[in-house]
Protein backbone atom coordinates (compact mmCIF):
# COMPACT_ATOMS: atom_id res chain seq x y z
CA UNK A 1 0.00 0.00 0.00
CA UNK A 2 1.10 3.51 -0.76
CA UNK A 3 3.09 5.13 2.00
CA UNK A 4 0.80 7.98 2.89
CA UNK A 5 -1.50 9.42 5.50
CA UNK A 6 -5.09 9.36 4.33
CA UNK A 7 -7.64 11.55 6.07
CA UNK A 8 -11.31 11.60 5.11
CA UNK A 9 -13.66 12.50 7.92
CA UNK A 10 -16.73 14.33 9.16
CA UNK A 11 -16.91 15.66 12.70
CA UNK A 12 -19.95 17.57 13.94
CA UNK A 13 -20.27 19.84 16.94
CA UNK A 14 -24.07 20.02 17.12
CA UNK A 15 -25.39 23.53 16.70
CA UNK A 16 -21.98 24.94 15.95
CA UNK A 17 -19.96 23.57 13.07
CA UNK A 18 -19.56 20.55 10.85
CA UNK A 19 -16.02 19.76 9.83
CA UNK A 20 -15.49 17.87 6.61
CA UNK A 21 -12.04 17.25 5.20
CA UNK A 22 -10.27 14.81 2.96
CA UNK A 23 -6.61 14.97 2.06
CA UNK A 24 -3.57 12.76 1.77
CA UNK A 25 -0.01 13.37 2.86
CA UNK A 26 2.83 11.41 1.25
CA UNK A 27 5.10 10.01 3.98
CA UNK A 28 8.11 9.02 1.93
CA UNK A 29 10.03 11.28 1.65
CA UNK A 30 8.61 13.01 4.74
CA UNK A 31 6.84 16.28 4.03
CA UNK A 32 5.12 19.04 5.96
CA UNK A 33 1.42 19.75 5.49
CA UNK A 34 -0.04 23.07 6.58
CA UNK A 35 -3.62 23.26 7.82
CA UNK A 36 -4.37 26.90 7.15
CA UNK A 37 -7.36 29.03 8.03
CA UNK A 38 -8.84 31.63 10.35
CA UNK A 39 -9.63 30.70 13.94
CA UNK A 40 -12.78 28.64 14.28
CA UNK A 41 -12.28 26.97 10.92
CA UNK A 42 -11.82 23.49 12.42
CA UNK A 43 -8.07 23.05 11.90
CA UNK A 44 -7.35 22.08 15.48
CA UNK A 45 -10.22 19.59 15.48
CA UNK A 46 -8.73 17.86 12.45
CA UNK A 47 -5.40 17.69 14.27
CA UNK A 48 -7.12 16.31 17.38
CA UNK A 49 -8.86 13.63 15.30
CA UNK A 50 -5.44 12.68 13.93
CA UNK A 51 -4.13 12.41 17.48
CA UNK A 52 -7.08 10.31 18.65
CA UNK A 53 -8.23 12.99 21.10
CA UNK A 54 -11.43 13.54 19.14
CA UNK A 55 -13.51 10.96 17.26
CA UNK A 56 -15.19 11.74 13.95
CA UNK A 57 -18.75 10.49 13.34
CA UNK A 58 -17.80 9.26 9.95
CA UNK A 59 -14.57 8.64 8.16
CA UNK A 60 -11.24 7.01 7.79
CA UNK A 61 -7.76 7.90 8.98
CA UNK A 62 -5.11 5.57 7.69
CA UNK A 63 -1.42 6.01 8.43
CA UNK A 64 1.01 4.11 6.23
CA UNK A 65 -1.62 1.46 5.46
CA UNK A 66 -2.55 1.05 9.12
CA UNK A 67 -6.11 2.11 10.00
CA UNK A 68 -6.32 4.51 12.95
CA UNK A 69 -9.98 5.33 12.49
CA UNK A 70 -12.52 3.54 10.34
CA UNK A 71 -16.03 4.30 11.48
CA UNK A 72 -17.56 1.77 9.08
CA UNK A 73 -15.50 -1.05 10.63
CA UNK A 74 -15.54 0.34 14.16
CA UNK A 75 -11.76 0.84 14.23
CA UNK A 76 -10.62 3.30 16.92
CA UNK A 77 -6.92 3.27 17.70
CA UNK A 78 -6.27 5.24 20.92
CA UNK A 79 -3.64 8.02 20.94
CA UNK A 80 -1.25 5.84 22.96
CA UNK A 81 -0.88 3.42 20.06
CA UNK A 82 -0.33 5.95 17.26
CA UNK A 83 3.32 6.83 18.03
CA UNK A 84 2.73 10.56 17.74
CA UNK A 85 4.40 13.75 18.68
CA UNK A 86 1.73 16.31 19.56
CA UNK A 87 2.47 19.89 20.44
CA UNK A 88 -0.32 21.90 22.04
CA UNK A 89 -0.86 25.55 21.18
CA UNK A 90 0.01 26.70 24.71
CA UNK A 91 2.41 23.79 25.14
CA UNK A 92 0.64 21.96 28.04
CA UNK A 93 3.93 21.44 29.90
CA UNK A 94 3.65 19.57 33.20
CA UNK A 95 4.06 22.29 35.84
CA UNK A 96 5.37 19.98 38.57
CA UNK A 97 8.12 18.49 36.43
CA UNK A 98 11.45 19.98 35.39
CA UNK A 99 12.42 20.46 31.77
CA UNK A 100 14.18 17.08 31.82
CA UNK A 101 11.20 15.51 33.60
CA UNK A 102 8.81 16.86 30.99
CA UNK A 103 10.93 15.51 28.14
CA UNK A 104 11.39 12.11 29.81
CA UNK A 105 7.71 11.79 30.81
CA UNK A 106 6.74 9.58 27.87
CA UNK A 107 9.87 7.41 27.98
CA UNK A 108 8.97 5.31 31.01
CA UNK A 109 9.18 2.06 29.04
CA UNK A 110 12.85 2.56 28.18
CA UNK A 111 15.75 1.44 30.38
CA UNK A 112 17.14 4.40 32.29
CA UNK A 113 20.41 4.64 30.32
CA UNK A 114 18.49 4.78 27.04
CA UNK A 115 16.06 7.27 28.55
CA UNK A 116 18.75 9.71 29.61
CA UNK A 117 20.53 9.45 26.26
CA UNK A 118 17.23 10.23 24.49
CA UNK A 119 16.62 13.22 26.78
CA UNK A 120 20.18 14.41 26.16
CA UNK A 121 19.68 14.11 22.42
CA UNK A 122 16.45 16.17 22.55
CA UNK A 123 18.06 18.75 24.83
CA UNK A 124 20.93 19.22 22.36
CA UNK A 125 18.63 19.28 19.35
CA UNK A 126 16.45 22.04 20.84
CA UNK A 127 19.41 23.84 22.51
CA UNK A 128 18.04 23.50 26.02
CA UNK A 129 21.43 22.83 27.66
CA UNK A 130 21.58 24.26 31.18
CA UNK A 131 17.80 24.45 31.54
CA UNK A 132 17.22 20.76 32.38
CA UNK A 133 16.61 21.40 36.10
CA UNK A 134 14.20 24.35 35.71
CA UNK A 135 10.42 24.20 35.88
CA UNK A 136 8.20 25.50 33.08
CA UNK A 137 7.20 28.58 35.10
CA UNK A 138 10.87 29.63 35.20
CA UNK A 139 11.22 29.61 31.39
CA UNK A 140 10.63 32.27 28.75
CA UNK A 141 7.96 31.70 26.10
CA UNK A 142 10.54 30.72 23.52
CA UNK A 143 12.17 28.24 25.91
CA UNK A 144 8.80 26.71 26.77
CA UNK A 145 8.09 26.33 23.08
CA UNK A 146 11.38 24.45 22.63
CA UNK A 147 10.64 22.19 25.60
CA UNK A 148 7.24 21.37 24.10
CA UNK A 149 8.93 20.54 20.79
CA UNK A 150 11.58 18.44 22.52
CA UNK A 151 8.84 16.52 24.32
CA UNK A 152 7.02 15.95 21.03
CA UNK A 153 10.05 14.62 19.15
CA UNK A 154 11.89 12.70 21.89
CA UNK A 155 9.95 9.47 21.29
CA UNK A 156 10.95 9.50 17.60
CA UNK A 157 7.32 9.70 16.48
CA UNK A 158 6.10 8.57 13.10
CA UNK A 159 3.95 11.67 12.74
CA UNK A 160 4.43 15.11 14.23
CA UNK A 161 1.34 17.25 14.91
CA UNK A 162 1.95 20.90 15.77
CA UNK A 163 -0.96 23.14 16.79
CA UNK A 164 -0.08 26.81 16.14
CA UNK A 165 3.51 26.13 17.25
CA UNK A 166 4.58 29.77 17.21
CA UNK A 167 1.41 31.73 17.92
CA UNK A 168 1.97 32.12 21.68
CA UNK A 169 5.25 34.00 21.11
CA UNK A 170 5.98 37.68 20.64
CA UNK A 171 6.83 38.77 17.10
CA UNK A 172 10.68 38.93 17.22
CA UNK A 173 10.85 35.52 18.95
CA UNK A 174 8.35 34.10 16.48
CA UNK A 175 10.43 35.19 13.49
CA UNK A 176 13.60 33.71 15.02
CA UNK A 177 11.96 30.43 16.04
CA UNK A 178 10.28 30.07 12.66
CA UNK A 179 13.70 29.72 11.10
CA UNK A 180 14.73 27.24 13.80
CA UNK A 181 11.54 25.23 13.39
CA UNK A 182 12.06 25.04 9.63
CA UNK A 183 15.58 23.70 10.15
CA UNK A 184 14.36 21.26 12.80
CA UNK A 185 11.58 19.82 10.64
CA UNK A 186 14.02 19.39 7.77
CA UNK A 187 16.69 17.74 9.93
CA UNK A 188 14.25 15.43 11.75
CA UNK A 189 12.63 14.28 8.53
CA UNK A 190 9.39 13.28 10.30
CA UNK A 191 6.11 13.70 8.39
CA UNK A 192 4.44 16.70 10.02
CA UNK A 193 1.14 18.52 10.07
CA UNK A 194 1.25 22.13 11.22
CA UNK A 195 -1.86 24.14 12.07
CA UNK A 196 -1.44 27.86 11.52
CA UNK A 197 -3.25 31.03 10.49
CA UNK A 198 -0.01 32.83 9.70
CA UNK A 199 0.81 33.05 5.99
CA UNK A 200 4.54 33.47 6.59
CA UNK A 201 4.59 30.27 8.64
CA UNK A 202 2.70 28.46 5.90
CA UNK A 203 5.19 29.54 3.23
CA UNK A 204 8.25 28.97 5.39
CA UNK A 205 7.33 25.51 6.66
CA UNK A 206 4.93 23.91 4.22
CA UNK A 207 5.28 21.50 1.32
CA UNK A 208 1.53 21.07 1.03
CA UNK A 209 -1.28 23.23 2.22
CA UNK A 210 -4.96 22.76 2.98
CA UNK A 211 -7.03 25.92 3.37
CA UNK A 212 -10.05 25.62 5.67
CA UNK A 213 -12.92 27.88 6.65
CA UNK A 214 -16.03 27.13 8.72
CA UNK A 215 -15.14 23.44 8.73
CA UNK A 216 -14.93 23.20 4.96
CA UNK A 217 -11.84 22.52 2.91
CA UNK A 218 -11.55 25.32 0.37
CA UNK A 219 -8.35 24.47 -1.47
CA UNK A 220 -5.35 22.20 -1.35
CA UNK A 221 -2.01 22.40 -3.15
CA UNK A 222 1.51 23.62 -2.62
CA UNK A 223 1.60 26.84 -0.58
CA UNK A 224 2.92 28.78 -3.56
CA UNK A 225 0.15 27.52 -5.83
CA UNK A 226 -2.54 28.31 -3.27
CA UNK A 227 -1.23 31.86 -2.71
CA UNK A 228 -0.75 32.65 -6.38
CA UNK A 229 -3.89 30.99 -7.66
CA UNK A 230 -6.62 30.95 -5.03
CA UNK A 231 -9.57 29.08 -6.49
CA UNK A 232 -12.03 31.72 -5.31
CA UNK A 233 -12.32 35.09 -3.59
CA UNK A 234 -12.82 33.43 -0.21
CA UNK A 235 -9.44 31.71 -0.34
CA UNK A 236 -7.82 34.90 -1.62
CA UNK A 237 -9.19 36.81 1.38
CA UNK A 238 -8.04 34.14 3.82
CA UNK A 239 -4.49 33.88 2.53
CA UNK A 240 -4.28 37.65 1.95
CA UNK A 241 -1.15 37.58 -0.21
CA UNK A 242 -1.68 37.68 -3.95
CA UNK A 243 1.79 37.31 -5.39
CA UNK A 244 4.29 34.74 -4.10
CA UNK A 245 7.44 34.24 -6.16
CA UNK A 246 10.37 31.90 -5.58
CA UNK A 247 13.70 33.71 -5.76
CA UNK A 248 17.24 33.88 -4.47
CA UNK A 249 18.98 36.72 -2.69
CA UNK A 250 21.92 37.88 -4.78
CA UNK A 251 23.04 40.78 -2.64
CA UNK A 252 22.39 41.90 0.91
CA UNK A 253 23.68 45.06 2.58
CA UNK A 254 22.46 47.67 5.01
CA UNK A 255 19.14 45.97 5.67
CA UNK A 256 18.28 45.79 1.98
CA UNK A 257 18.35 42.62 -0.07
CA UNK A 258 18.32 42.21 -3.82
CA UNK A 259 16.30 39.22 -4.90
CA UNK A 260 16.51 37.54 -8.26
CA UNK A 261 13.04 36.46 -9.33
CA UNK A 262 12.88 34.81 -12.74
CA UNK A 263 15.81 36.98 -13.86
CA UNK A 264 14.28 40.19 -12.57
CA UNK A 265 15.87 41.99 -9.63
CA UNK A 266 13.64 43.15 -6.78
CA UNK A 267 14.80 45.25 -3.85
CA UNK A 268 13.37 44.25 -0.47
CA UNK A 269 13.80 45.30 3.15
CA UNK A 270 15.35 42.19 4.71
CA UNK A 271 18.27 41.00 6.81
CA UNK A 272 18.44 37.65 4.99
CA UNK A 273 21.89 36.69 3.75
CA UNK A 274 22.96 36.56 0.11
CA UNK A 275 22.48 33.10 -1.35
CA UNK A 276 19.30 32.36 0.64
CA UNK A 277 16.36 30.83 -1.15
CA UNK A 278 13.25 32.89 -0.43
CA UNK A 279 9.68 33.54 -1.41
CA UNK A 280 9.18 37.16 -2.42
CA UNK A 281 5.62 38.09 -1.42
CA UNK A 282 3.74 41.17 -2.64
CA UNK A 283 0.22 42.28 -1.68
CA UNK A 284 -1.85 43.46 -4.64
CA UNK A 285 -2.77 46.71 -2.86
CA UNK A 286 0.94 47.54 -2.46
CA UNK A 287 1.49 47.65 -6.23
CA UNK A 288 1.19 51.08 -7.83
CA UNK A 289 0.47 51.27 -11.57
CA UNK A 290 1.67 54.18 -13.70
CA UNK A 291 1.78 54.90 -17.43
CA UNK A 292 5.03 54.52 -19.37
CA UNK A 293 7.31 57.53 -19.31
CA UNK A 294 6.29 58.90 -15.91
CA UNK A 295 8.93 60.78 -13.94
CA UNK A 296 11.10 59.58 -11.09
CA UNK A 297 9.28 58.23 -8.03
CA UNK A 298 10.50 56.97 -4.69
CA UNK A 299 9.46 53.34 -5.13
CA UNK A 300 12.61 51.22 -5.53
CA UNK A 301 11.11 48.59 -7.80
CA UNK A 302 9.79 49.66 -11.18
CA UNK A 303 8.83 46.85 -13.50
CA UNK A 304 7.71 47.25 -17.07
CA UNK A 305 4.98 44.86 -18.11
CA UNK A 306 1.74 44.40 -19.94
CA UNK A 307 -1.75 43.97 -18.57
CA UNK A 308 -2.96 40.42 -18.97
CA UNK A 309 -6.38 40.33 -17.31
CA UNK A 310 -8.68 42.62 -15.35
CA UNK A 311 -11.12 41.27 -12.76
CA UNK A 312 -13.77 43.37 -11.06
CA UNK A 313 -13.81 43.38 -7.25
CA UNK A 314 -16.68 45.87 -6.84
CA UNK A 315 -15.25 49.35 -6.27
CA UNK A 316 -11.79 47.99 -7.04
CA UNK A 317 -10.38 46.00 -9.91
CA UNK A 318 -7.64 43.41 -9.76
CA UNK A 319 -5.16 43.73 -12.59
CA UNK A 320 -2.82 40.93 -13.50
CA UNK A 321 0.38 42.11 -15.11
CA UNK A 322 2.99 40.10 -16.94
CA UNK A 323 6.34 41.65 -16.06
CA UNK A 324 8.51 38.55 -16.46
CA UNK A 325 6.38 36.92 -13.79
CA UNK A 326 2.69 37.26 -12.96
CA UNK A 327 2.05 40.18 -10.62
CA UNK A 328 -1.34 41.07 -9.12
CA UNK A 329 -2.28 44.69 -8.45
CA UNK A 330 -5.44 46.27 -7.11
CA UNK A 331 -6.51 49.74 -8.26
CA UNK A 332 -9.72 51.74 -8.10
CA UNK A 333 -12.08 51.73 -11.04
CA UNK A 334 -11.31 55.45 -11.59
CA UNK A 335 -7.58 54.72 -11.58
CA UNK A 336 -8.10 52.00 -14.15
CA UNK A 337 -10.04 54.38 -16.44
CA UNK A 338 -7.48 57.18 -16.05
CA UNK A 339 -4.69 54.85 -17.16
CA UNK A 340 -7.01 53.30 -19.80
CA UNK A 341 -5.98 49.89 -18.56
CA UNK A 342 -6.98 46.93 -20.68
CA UNK A 343 -5.49 43.64 -21.75
CA UNK A 344 -2.26 44.13 -23.71
CA UNK A 345 -1.72 47.66 -22.45
CA UNK A 346 1.92 48.40 -21.43
CA UNK A 347 2.29 49.72 -17.89
CA UNK A 348 4.86 50.28 -15.14
CA UNK A 349 4.33 48.51 -11.80
CA UNK A 350 6.01 50.26 -8.87
CA UNK A 351 6.57 48.50 -5.55
CA UNK A 352 8.28 49.96 -2.49
CA UNK A 353 11.15 47.89 -1.13
CA UNK A 354 9.27 47.65 2.17
CA UNK A 355 6.29 46.05 0.42
CA UNK A 356 8.33 43.10 -0.83
CA UNK A 357 8.20 40.56 2.03
CA UNK A 358 10.82 37.85 1.98
CA UNK A 359 10.05 34.46 3.55
CA UNK A 360 12.99 32.06 3.72
CA UNK A 361 12.35 28.72 2.06
CA UNK A 362 13.49 25.22 2.85
Amino acid sequence: MASELIVDLTKTFPGRITIEVNFALPLDPPTVLILFGPSGSGKTTVLRCLAGLEWPERGVIRFNGQPWVDTAKGVRVPPQQRRLGYMFQDYALFPMHTVAGNIAFGLTDLPSAERSSRVGEAVRLLQLQGLEGLRPSQLSGGQQQRVALARAVVRHPGLLLLDEPLSALDLPTRVRLRTELRRLLRDLAIPSIVVTHDWEEALALGDHMVVMKDGRMLQKGTPQAVFNAPTNAEVATIVGMETVLPGRIVESAGGLATVDVAGIKLLAVSEEEAGSEVFACIRAEDVILEPLGAGAISARNRLAGTVRTITSLGALVQVEIDCGFALAAVVTRAGMEELSLGPGRPVIAAIKAGAVHLVPRK
Partner: protein, 229 residues
Protein backbone atom coordinates in the same frame (compact mmCIF):
# COMPACT_ATOMS: atom_id res chain seq x y z
CA UNK B 1 -15.11 8.72 79.30
CA UNK B 2 -16.02 5.55 77.42
CA UNK B 3 -12.75 4.43 75.90
CA UNK B 4 -14.32 1.38 74.28
CA UNK B 5 -16.73 3.60 72.33
CA UNK B 6 -13.91 5.98 71.39
CA UNK B 7 -11.69 3.12 70.17
CA UNK B 8 -14.56 1.64 68.19
CA UNK B 9 -15.45 4.99 66.62
CA UNK B 10 -11.86 5.71 65.59
CA UNK B 11 -11.59 2.22 64.10
CA UNK B 12 -14.85 2.69 62.21
CA UNK B 13 -13.84 6.12 60.91
CA UNK B 14 -10.39 4.91 59.81
CA UNK B 15 -11.75 1.89 57.99
CA UNK B 16 -14.50 3.96 56.35
CA UNK B 17 -11.96 6.51 55.12
CA UNK B 18 -9.69 3.78 53.76
CA UNK B 19 -12.47 1.95 51.93
CA UNK B 20 -13.73 5.25 50.54
CA UNK B 21 -10.24 6.01 49.24
CA UNK B 22 -10.21 2.71 47.36
CA UNK B 23 -13.70 2.93 45.86
CA UNK B 24 -13.92 6.74 45.79
CA UNK B 25 -10.93 7.36 43.50
CA UNK B 26 -12.21 5.32 40.53
CA UNK B 27 -15.76 6.59 41.05
CA UNK B 28 -14.55 10.20 41.17
CA UNK B 29 -12.38 9.62 38.09
CA UNK B 30 -15.39 8.34 36.22
CA UNK B 31 -17.54 11.27 37.39
CA UNK B 32 -14.87 13.73 36.32
CA UNK B 33 -13.91 12.21 32.97
CA UNK B 34 -17.01 10.49 31.63
CA UNK B 35 -18.87 12.22 28.82
CA UNK B 36 -21.95 10.05 29.34
CA UNK B 37 -25.04 12.25 29.02
CA UNK B 38 -26.87 10.71 32.01
CA UNK B 39 -23.85 11.12 34.29
CA UNK B 40 -25.72 13.66 36.42
CA UNK B 41 -28.09 10.90 37.58
CA UNK B 42 -25.16 9.05 39.16
CA UNK B 43 -23.77 12.33 40.56
CA UNK B 44 -27.12 12.89 42.27
CA UNK B 45 -27.12 9.40 43.78
CA UNK B 46 -23.62 10.00 45.18
CA UNK B 47 -24.77 13.29 46.71
CA UNK B 48 -27.98 11.84 48.22
CA UNK B 49 -26.51 11.23 51.71
CA UNK B 50 -25.87 14.98 51.94
CA UNK B 51 -29.57 15.80 51.90
CA UNK B 52 -31.30 12.63 53.06
CA UNK B 53 -32.17 12.43 56.80
CA UNK B 54 -29.78 9.87 58.34
CA UNK B 55 -32.74 7.89 59.67
CA UNK B 56 -34.15 7.52 56.17
CA UNK B 57 -30.80 6.40 54.82
CA UNK B 58 -30.38 4.10 57.81
CA UNK B 59 -33.85 2.64 57.30
CA UNK B 60 -33.16 1.76 53.67
CA UNK B 61 -29.77 0.28 54.48
CA UNK B 62 -31.33 -1.76 57.27
CA UNK B 63 -33.97 -3.12 54.93
CA UNK B 64 -31.43 -3.72 52.17
CA UNK B 65 -29.02 -5.74 54.32
CA UNK B 66 -31.65 -7.31 56.60
CA UNK B 67 -32.33 -11.06 56.69
CA UNK B 68 -35.31 -10.70 54.30
CA UNK B 69 -33.31 -9.17 51.46
CA UNK B 70 -31.28 -11.23 48.96
CA UNK B 71 -28.12 -9.35 49.99
CA UNK B 72 -28.75 -10.06 53.65
CA UNK B 73 -29.51 -13.74 53.00
CA UNK B 74 -26.38 -14.10 50.90
CA UNK B 75 -24.27 -12.50 53.63
CA UNK B 76 -25.79 -14.74 56.29
CA UNK B 77 -25.06 -17.92 54.35
CA UNK B 78 -21.52 -16.67 53.73
CA UNK B 79 -20.57 -15.55 57.25
CA UNK B 80 -23.05 -17.34 59.44
CA UNK B 81 -24.73 -14.34 61.05
CA UNK B 82 -26.80 -11.44 59.67
CA UNK B 83 -25.26 -8.06 58.80
CA UNK B 84 -27.39 -5.58 60.79
CA UNK B 85 -26.35 -4.74 64.35
CA UNK B 86 -22.75 -5.80 63.71
CA UNK B 87 -19.58 -3.75 63.22
CA UNK B 88 -19.41 -4.83 59.56
CA UNK B 89 -22.97 -3.68 58.98
CA UNK B 90 -22.10 -0.36 60.57
CA UNK B 91 -19.02 -0.04 58.37
CA UNK B 92 -21.12 -0.71 55.27
CA UNK B 93 -23.61 1.97 56.32
CA UNK B 94 -20.85 4.46 57.14
CA UNK B 95 -19.29 4.00 53.73
CA UNK B 96 -22.55 4.88 52.01
CA UNK B 97 -23.26 7.71 54.43
CA UNK B 98 -19.84 9.37 53.95
CA UNK B 99 -19.53 8.62 50.22
CA UNK B 100 -20.09 12.21 49.02
CA UNK B 101 -17.60 13.55 51.55
CA UNK B 102 -14.86 11.56 49.83
CA UNK B 103 -16.03 11.43 46.21
CA UNK B 104 -16.90 15.09 45.74
CA UNK B 105 -13.54 16.52 46.86
CA UNK B 106 -11.80 13.84 44.75
CA UNK B 107 -13.92 14.65 41.69
CA UNK B 108 -13.47 18.39 42.09
CA UNK B 109 -9.71 17.92 42.34
CA UNK B 110 -9.76 15.85 39.13
CA UNK B 111 -11.96 18.48 37.45
CA UNK B 112 -9.26 21.05 38.23
CA UNK B 113 -6.59 19.10 36.36
CA UNK B 114 -6.02 20.76 33.00
CA UNK B 115 -7.40 18.35 30.39
CA UNK B 116 -4.65 19.26 27.94
CA UNK B 117 -2.05 17.93 30.36
CA UNK B 118 -3.96 14.66 30.46
CA UNK B 119 -4.23 14.58 26.67
CA UNK B 120 -0.54 15.42 26.36
CA UNK B 121 0.24 12.39 28.52
CA UNK B 122 -1.95 10.16 26.34
CA UNK B 123 -0.25 11.33 23.15
CA UNK B 124 3.08 10.57 24.84
CA UNK B 125 2.01 6.94 25.04
CA UNK B 126 0.96 6.71 28.69
CA UNK B 127 -2.14 4.58 29.25
CA UNK B 128 -5.13 6.04 31.05
CA UNK B 129 -4.18 4.23 34.26
CA UNK B 130 -0.57 5.40 34.15
CA UNK B 131 -1.66 8.92 33.32
CA UNK B 132 -3.91 8.77 36.39
CA UNK B 133 -1.10 7.55 38.64
CA UNK B 134 1.73 9.69 37.23
CA UNK B 135 -0.11 12.90 36.45
CA UNK B 136 -3.62 13.23 37.84
CA UNK B 137 -2.98 11.91 41.37
CA UNK B 138 0.08 14.11 42.04
CA UNK B 139 -1.88 17.16 40.85
CA UNK B 140 -4.85 16.27 43.08
CA UNK B 141 -3.18 15.49 46.41
CA UNK B 142 -4.87 18.33 48.30
CA UNK B 143 -8.33 17.25 47.17
CA UNK B 144 -7.62 13.62 47.98
CA UNK B 145 -6.36 14.40 51.50
CA UNK B 146 -9.39 16.65 52.00
CA UNK B 147 -11.72 13.82 50.96
CA UNK B 148 -10.09 11.30 53.28
CA UNK B 149 -10.10 13.67 56.25
CA UNK B 150 -13.67 14.82 55.70
CA UNK B 151 -15.03 11.29 55.38
CA UNK B 152 -13.12 10.33 58.55
CA UNK B 153 -14.50 13.32 60.46
CA UNK B 154 -18.00 12.81 59.14
CA UNK B 155 -18.02 9.16 60.26
CA UNK B 156 -16.87 10.17 63.75
CA UNK B 157 -20.03 12.14 64.31
CA UNK B 158 -22.72 9.99 62.70
CA UNK B 159 -25.71 9.16 64.88
CA UNK B 160 -28.93 8.44 63.05
CA UNK B 161 -27.55 5.87 60.65
CA UNK B 162 -25.67 4.14 63.47
CA UNK B 163 -28.78 3.90 65.58
CA UNK B 164 -30.83 2.46 62.72
CA UNK B 165 -28.28 -0.03 61.39
CA UNK B 166 -25.99 -0.70 64.33
CA UNK B 167 -28.11 -0.24 67.37
CA UNK B 168 -26.27 0.17 70.64
CA UNK B 169 -24.09 -2.83 71.47
CA UNK B 170 -21.10 -2.15 73.67
CA UNK B 171 -17.83 -2.91 71.85
CA UNK B 172 -19.65 -3.79 68.62
CA UNK B 173 -21.74 -0.84 67.46
CA UNK B 174 -21.83 1.69 70.29
CA UNK B 175 -20.04 4.73 68.86
CA UNK B 176 -19.12 7.93 70.65
CA UNK B 177 -22.23 9.84 69.65
CA UNK B 178 -24.50 7.00 70.81
CA UNK B 179 -22.58 6.85 74.07
CA UNK B 180 -23.09 10.57 74.68
CA UNK B 181 -26.81 10.16 74.02
CA UNK B 182 -26.91 7.25 76.50
CA UNK B 183 -25.13 9.25 79.18
CA UNK B 184 -27.52 12.16 78.81
CA UNK B 185 -30.50 9.81 78.96
CA UNK B 186 -29.04 8.47 82.22
CA UNK B 187 -28.64 12.08 83.44
CA UNK B 188 -24.85 11.54 83.67
CA UNK B 189 -23.95 14.97 82.27
CA UNK B 190 -20.34 14.87 83.48
CA UNK B 191 -19.64 11.69 81.52
CA UNK B 192 -21.37 13.09 78.43
CA UNK B 193 -19.43 16.33 78.68
CA UNK B 194 -16.05 14.58 78.73
CA UNK B 195 -16.83 12.43 75.70
CA UNK B 196 -18.41 15.36 73.88
CA UNK B 197 -15.32 17.47 74.54
CA UNK B 198 -13.15 14.68 73.19
CA UNK B 199 -15.21 14.48 70.00
CA UNK B 200 -15.13 18.25 69.64
CA UNK B 201 -11.34 18.27 70.05
CA UNK B 202 -10.81 15.53 67.47
CA UNK B 203 -13.17 17.16 64.94
CA UNK B 204 -11.60 20.57 65.40
CA UNK B 205 -8.08 19.16 65.02
CA UNK B 206 -9.06 17.36 61.85
CA UNK B 207 -10.57 20.50 60.35
CA UNK B 208 -7.55 22.55 61.44
CA UNK B 209 -5.45 20.12 59.46
CA UNK B 210 -7.59 20.39 56.33
CA UNK B 211 -7.96 24.16 56.36
CA UNK B 212 -4.32 24.66 57.32
CA UNK B 213 -3.26 22.53 54.37
CA UNK B 214 -5.71 24.29 52.06
CA UNK B 215 -4.70 27.76 53.17
CA UNK B 216 -2.13 28.26 50.46
CA UNK B 217 -3.62 25.81 48.00
CA UNK B 218 -6.58 27.16 46.11
CA UNK B 219 -7.91 23.91 44.67
CA UNK B 220 -8.21 22.46 48.15
CA UNK B 221 -10.57 25.16 49.26
CA UNK B 222 -12.52 24.58 46.08
CA UNK B 223 -12.71 20.94 47.08
CA UNK B 224 -14.30 21.98 50.36
CA UNK B 225 -16.69 24.29 48.56
CA UNK B 226 -17.60 21.42 46.28
CA UNK B 227 -19.58 19.87 49.10
CA UNK B 228 -22.16 22.50 48.41
CA UNK B 229 -22.28 21.92 44.68
Amino acid sequence: MNWIAIGLTLQLATLTALVLLVIGLPLAYWLSFSRWRWKFAIESVVALPLVLPPTVLGFYILVAIGPHSPVGRFYTTLVGHPLPFTFEGLLFASILYSLPFAVQPFATAFDQVDRRLVEASWTMGLSRLRTFVKLILPLSTTGIVTGIVLSFAHTLGEFGVVLMVGGNIEGETRTVSIDIYDEVQALNYAGAAKTALFLLAVSYTVLLLVYGMNRSVREGRLALLSLQR
